[in-house]
């Protein structure tokens, strides 16, 4: 079942002014239900603009977006409802917190969608549990929390709307390694266990290689690659010319290959490399009695 389909999206920022910038050039892609897709690209490649098109915050100059088969630009289409089904978490989402306490802030989303008081509270509780925040946090002011905690509250705020699809723009920006792992594992759980379709925008090739089913690469407003991580990272030289890279481990593996070691060149994660290297060491070690 096809969740979202972008057809020939084109968008220019500030037409006719000194700031004119052709941000999206004929972008086409499809995301199926339940997929975990990664979106990478150099700064200014159009990633942020693209994701804001997907929930109707920005309207494309030309082209179409179909959500579950219906064009979101069709007459009378309720964009508010779309935003309840396609949740968008911006970069540094903690900047959107405003309520006096955590629980009220998380209730903001479902309330806007018109949920009853009871339903709102139920959803808020559920969302907070999904991000690992227990009741002790409910009454606290969001401004008292740590950066990582604030971020989890912000994400809960979007989850509380019970979206079918979540778009996250660099959810790990500015977090320490443990915070990053926690958030990414949570996102993975949402996808694998709860079936949420995920679009993850990231600058970390390692994160993208480890978690996603498919990567889309943006370069100067155009989509240039679209495929599984192993396939996309084989083009690491081209990625480099676009200001990106392959995961660090891929370079280690390439280095080993250049020295004549027959290791699989499509390795993109440290675990795969470890297994491959260990198995090579075992087969090449002379047998001892």
């Amino acid at each position: 079942m096809m969740s979202i389909k972008a057809i020939d999206l084109d968008y220019t920022y500030g037409p006719g002014t000194a700031f004119e910038h052709h941000v999206l050039k004929h972008v086409n892609f499809e995301i199926q239900d339940g997929e975990f897709v990664g979106l990478i690209g150099h700064t200014g490649s159009g990633k942020s603009t693209l994701i804001q098109h997907l929930n109707g915050l920005i309207k494309a100059d030309s082209g179409d977006i179909l959500y579950h088969g219906t064009s979101i630009y069709s007459e009378g289409y309720k964009l508010r409802e779309l935003r309840g089904r396609v949740g968008l978490v911006f970069q540094y989402p903690e900047h959107q917190l405003f309520e006096a306490d955590v629980f009220s802030d998380v209730c903001f989303g479902p309330k806007n969608l018109g949920c009853s008081e009871e339903e709102t509270k139920k959803r808020a509780r559920h969302a907070l549990s999904l991000v690992g925040m227990d009741e002790s946090f409910y009454g606290r002011s969001p401004f008292e929390l740590s950066g990582g905690q604030k971020r989890r509250v912000a994400i809960a705020g979007v989850l509380a709307m019970r979206p079918e699809m979540m778009i996250l723009d660099e959810p790990t920006a500015g977090l320490d390694p443990r915070g990053r792992d926690e958030i990414l594992n949570q996102i993975e759980r949402l996808n694998r266990q709860h079936g949420l379709t995920i679009l993850l925008v990231s600058h970390s090739m390692e994160d993208v290689a480890r978690y996603v089913d498919r990567i889309m690469v943006m370069n100067h407003g155009e989509k240039v690659f679209d495929g599984p991580p192993k396939e996309v990272f084989l083009h690491y030289r081209e990625l480099e010319s676009m200001g990106l890279a392959a995961p660090q481990i891929t370079y280690v593996v390439q280095g080993l290959r250049e020295r004549g070691i027959p290791i699989d060149d499509s390795i993109t994660t440290v675990e795969e490399a470890r297994d491959a290297i260990l198995s090579l060491l075992c087969t090449s070690k002379p047998h001892r009695d």
């Binding site: 920022y13 500030g14 002014t17 700031f19 804001q52 929930n55 915050l57 920005i58 508010r80 935003r83 309840g84 949740g87 968008l88 978490v89 911006f90 989402p93 900047h95 959107q96 917190l97 405003f98 903001f108 989303g109 806007n112 969608l113 401004f143 705020g157 979007v158 709307m161």
Partner: protein, 265 residues
Amino acid sequence: MIRDITIGQYYPVDSVIHRLDPRTKLFGTMIFIISLFFANSLLCYLAATVFMGAAVKLSKVPFRFIVRGLKAIVLLLLISIGFNLFLTDGEELFRIGFLRVTREGAALAFFMGMRLMYLVVGSSIMTLCTTPNQLTDGLEKSLGVLKRIGVPVHEISMMMSIALRFIPILVEETDKIMKAQMARGADFESGNLIQKAKNMIPLLVPLFVSAFRRATDLAMAMEARCYRGGEGRTKMKPLRYAPRDWTAYGICVCYLAGVIALSRL
């Protein structure tokens, strides 16, 4: 989408006027405005027109930018012209229904209208040719003499510069926050006045928090670079008058003298 708005309407181009010291432009504009209040005859306005026309030509700013400022005062212009035209006593010229138009009224309306338009165009030239930061620098230097009586001229000027600097940043932040809340279903458009005001809270609270956070960070960054206020502080690009500024001052003074003389005729 909220764009990057720059205050005033600075038009970036290289011209004699752009290169003048901001103080020259400030005082020049003041002199021009004073001259308009002395002008009481067509001859005076002719002089003013020549002066202003020369300034416009020298500024190399396209005409359509210069008249943009007039759009804002169209209503004011119409009201003042209307009042003067129809409500002044004197020698009647003609009637439209119950509205009397007198010679004095026509004259007053004409001069009032001209004065307003020239005031706006004159100040526009100044803001079109001077960046906001140049203006605050110019003000700081000119008002420097007030430091002796305890007015914190430098601090006020620094506050103005920082505020101007942060306008585009805060505009961008507002846009981001608005979009983030809209992504959670917020509605900033519908509802009556009270509804709309309430709906602004998810926008204003994060914006204020963000502004305070930036202010704190900026203060720390400035202190970390040894900023201690205006005490003994020097500038990297101090304002220094050039020969062209003295020429400009000379022209302005002659112009003012000319207009005053013409007004006595």
